[in-house]
Symmetry: C2
Subunit: 193 residues, 2 copies
DNA sequence: GACGTGCGAGAACGAGCGTTCTCGCCGACG
DNA sequence: CGTCGGCGAGAACGCTCGTTCTCGCACGTC
């Protein structure tokens, strides 16, 4: 038996790294085979096509991102700190060496117009994150948690894009500060600092 | 004489529409030839390679977006209204039928890691927009116009991505409202509404 | 009218892709 | 020990792509 990590996990891990760094269409199956160290036949018996592998890649990213986010938020109990923890998590992530923007925005721009499966996976992920942010906003007692949740989602996506393009974590810091301002204004309009 | 529009403009127009809607790598030169109604030979004597056409596409988009943005802002004289006009322009744009997110974020996700030319064009565009937003922020008398400009850039990019993925102009409205809150807080901290 | 010349349509070429097939090997089982 | 079945390496196949070439046609000049 294959001791440590299952074959499927190895394939997905290699595909994830390559798709995320170079984009989906720039990466061929041969490159995934080389990176995963498995045969092409094994890839095709785990995933019937490249499209299926791409959708599995997106599902895996979705699970990873939301789990990591929730774990970071769970370190805090104060509602405002829980919202800000989202941007602290973002800051740590974008500052690492293997950050290349939002995999979902990238995949959507590349394939969303022509692949219903990709478009669906991206919309599901973004809706789930927005729902989570709305819940965090609700905890704070904000006047309009729906709107605040959407605004936090906008900040999150914009900060990811900007951090990737400028290759700097500064947008995450700016987004965090913006989130704090929006949050305080939504909870106690016009309050003193 | 070629009557109306020059050949180069026709090619660029067709390439722009196709690249922007479907992504760069999904669109072949044949499709651009069909859409532009010119011969493949003419395309290659205007642009020496597909890469050159892609960079011309990005330069054209940069010019179009910044010009349209500045014209919309120029309708107003009040500094706060000038900042908000950015998001009004965004709202009108994303609400139209031919909006497909930010062409620069999409191109960067698709090609930025492997094409220095694309990465450079994208960084230049984003830096120019951020600089423009910083200038608008400066006009308002904000305490830290650099930071406010960056925050507006984050809102702009995030709203574009979210509007594209959710296929709705709501993120533009949310971003506009967030911009107003950030702006007022940056100009007069803790002021009453 | 003869001739060169630039042009468009489409074939051609070489490379790369996703996917499948071939073949030689090795371990399981009677 | 003989046979069979699954496996990996890599070739093969059909397709698409970026780029170049061919060929036939229309047109300006003597």
């Amino acid at each position: 038996m294959d001791g440590e990590t299952s074959t499927e996990t190895r394939i997905l891990g290699a595909a994830d790294a390559l798709f995320y760094e170079h984009g989906v269409q720039s990466v061929g199956m041969d490159r995934i085979r080389d990176a995963a160290g498995v045969s092409l036949k094994k890839i095709y018996q785990c995933f019937p096509s490249k499209g299926a592998l791409v959708e599995a890649y997106l599902r895996r990213r979705d699970q990873w991102a939301r789990t990591a986010l929730e774990e970071r938020v769970a370190r805090h109990t104060d509602p405002e700190e829980r919202v800000l923890a989202v941007f602290d998590w973002l800051h740590d992530w974008v500052d690492g060496p293997d950050f290349h923007g939002c995999a979902f925005i990238n995949a959507f721009g590349e394939l969303g117009a022509d692949s219903a499966g990709v478009a669906h996976a991206v919309r599901d992920h973004k809706a789930a994150v927005r729902g989570y942010l709305r819940d965090l906003a609700h905890e704070t007692g904000a006047a309009d948690p729906d709107r605040l949740g959407s605004q936090l989602a906008v900040l999150l996506d914009g900060a990811m894009s900007n951090a990737s393009i400028t290759d700097s974590p500064a947008p995450a810091r700016d987004a965090r500060q913006a989130a704090r301002t929006l949050l305080r204004e939504a909870v106690a309009p016009g309050a003193r600092d």
